[in-house]
């Protein structure tokens, strides 16, 4: 058995080597190359000293934070109420369904909705407001990013709430806690893992959604992802692009560590 298996697993190991380890190594390697291909620390130097890169990074993190926070605030009650519904599997499916529609189509829909003659402005005009430029603003970027990522926050929280042993809730009531006390002392702490994976699933992509910044943000919002795309595909400065890539990887690792499942006392 062993031998056959190892033989068949060769493509898998090749994949690990060529498409997992090699690309990461290459991106780190390229971050030390300047435009003429020499090995240098120049990219890191300009990243840390020129200011514009640091501001861009800060902005990107700030937007990602806002998007994650708003998504979380909307998602938690949604997930919580969903678990109380009768046909919750079906309703959950309806939450998942929009995620199966191509991201670009959804972004495209918002170009129409937020357009100067679009749905939102029609709605505002109906109440006597003058039409506004909504598209290509920070606001539109945040709304669309939130729209796209909402299901990815709802689903892990929903799953965490579903996994909650119902007899723990009975026990809490039995010991004299009312609904609010039960929620704060039992439900909320035990669904924290769902919240954490939700944050992971929303925050990291929010740092890198370059197509949204292009289509919806109108280049007003520059995320780390936009900067990487710009350096690789527009200005062809792969070295600097890789440096920002390394920053993005580090940001990702930090988020993973912060939201990772820590071994805490009594934890499962």
């Amino acid at each position: 058995m062993k031998k056959v298996q190892t033989l068949f697993a060769i493509p898998y190991f090749l994949w690990l080597l060529l498409f997992v380890f090699a690309p990461v190594a290459l991106i780190v390697f390229y971050s030390f190359l300047n435009t003429s291909g020499q090995f240098t620390l120049q990219n890191y130097d300009s990243y840390f000293t020129s200011g514009k890169y640091l501001i861009m990074t800060f902005n990107s993190v700030w937007y990602a934070f806002l998007i994650t926070l708003i998504t979380l605030i909307i998602s938690y009650p949604t997930a919580y109420f969903l678990t109380k519904l009768k046909h919750k599997d079906l309703w959950l499916l309806l939450i998942i369904l929009p995620t199966w529609i191509n991201l670009l189509l959804k972004a495209y829909a918002f170009i129409g909705i937020f357009g100067i003659h679009g749905g939102v402005n029609k709605f505002l005009e109906f109440f006597g407001f003058a039409p506004h430029q909504i598209l290509f603003t920070d606001f539109s970027f945040i709304v669309v990013a939130m729209y796209i990522e909402l299901p990815f926050m709802i689903i892990p929280i929903f799953n965490a709430l579903e996994e909650l042993n119902p007899s723990l809730l009975s026990a809490s009531h039995d010991l004299g806690a009312n609904n609010i006390q039960t929620f704060i002392k039992v439900v909320l702490p035990l669904s924290m893992n769902g919240v954490k994976s939700g944050i992971q699933a929303v925050f990291i992509p929010s740092l890198s959604l370059f197509m949204l910044t292009r289509l919806i943000g109108g280049n007003r919002v520059i995320t780390l992802g936009t900067a990487i795309e710009e350096h690789f595909l527009v200005t062809q400065n792969w070295g600097m692009g890789s440096t920002i890539g390394v920053v993005l990887i580090i940001a990702m690792i930090i988020v993973m560590i912060l939201t990772g499942e820590k071994k805490k006392r009594g934890g499962q």
Binding site: W15, L94, L150, P205, L248
Partner: protein, 275 residues
């Protein structure tokens, strides 16, 4: 009479928010006008334009062929990858393998796209004639689909009763028979779910393809992106209507498959988000 609940009102708003953009797209696909501002009468003309747009039809076929091929190959590689991880003796190496497997799952797409671009360009300079195009896109799609197949198959392996394999040995089956008649049939639901996931990943992907595709090859996502940047064309709305219908069918299909497989939903979700 059921009593009114604020929680249901809240959910109603969330669902309206989730579905308004989709409804908006689909409604305008039937508009006689040429923009998404004001419905100017019912018409199917955008669907006619869509079906007579040979370029788009070819891109559509390409996209499906790419998804079909890449998920097939990724599934084959992934099954054996999963088995290899599962049968590793040492716990620590197993955990490390699993983490390595998940690297592409958690990496942002731009990173995957950019690093693959460097990798393929490097290959191109080593082997003249190897350029960006269908091959590189296919390889990339296979690469980012493998981990999800592994993640779908692994739980099934864990569920599988090991003594079943021992029983088969005991009854005189050889390695090949065990693989063919015991393990693979047992894993089938996981394999189907994995293939399905890989397929939708491939269909959904934009960022990675955008980086590694040259000028010659385009997928639907890339095409929509470039058209959307030029402004609104209701032909895309017509396309959305069809995509929505197709997704609906896929979701229903997936629902029935996952009913007896219970995959890790959130894993899938967070990946396809990056696209």
């Amino acid at each position: 009479m059921k009593k009114f609940k604020w929680s249901n009102l809240y959910l109603l708003f969330v669902f309206i928010f989730l579905y308004i953009p989709i409804a908006y797209l689909i409604v305008y696909s039937f508009s006689a006008g040429n923009s998404m501002s004001g419905f100017t009468g019912f018409s199917l003309k955008h669907f006619y334009t869509l079906f007579s747009d040979t370029r788009l039809i070819i891109i559509l076929l390409n996209t499906f062929m790419l998804a079909f091929l890449s998920s097939l190959i990724a599934t084959l590689i992934g099954i054996f990858g999963a088995m290899n991880i599962y049968y590793m003796k040492k716990r620590t190496t197993r955990m490390m393998m699993l983490s390595a497997n998940n690297i592409l799952m958690v990496s942002p797409d731009v990173i995957i796209g950019a690093s693959f671009l460097i990798f393929f360009t490097g290959l191109g300079s080593l082997f003249p004639g190897f350029g960006l195009g269908f091959t590189t896109v296919l390889l990339s799609h296979i690469a980012f689909s493998i981990p999800i197949v592994v993640l779908m198959v692994l739980p099934k392996l864990r569920e599988m009763n090991d003594s079943m394999v021992w029983a088969a040995y005991d009854l005189g089956a050889n390695n090949w028979q065990i693989l063919n008649r015991i393990i693979l049939p047992y894993l089938t639901p996981g394999i189907i779910a994995g293939y399905f996931m890989a397929f939708t990943y491939s269909l959904d992907d934009f960022a990675v393809t955008f980086f590694v595709t040259g000028n010659g090859f385009t997928t639907l996502s890339v095409e929509i992106y470039s058209r959307a940047r030029q402004g609104i064309s209701l032909e895309i709305n017509a396309l959305s209507a069809l995509v929505f219908l197709f997704s609906l069918i896929l979701v229903v299909g997936y629902y029935f498959i996952s009913k007896d497989n219970m995959p890790r939903k959130n894993k899938k979700e967070r990946k396809s988000l990056n696209r």
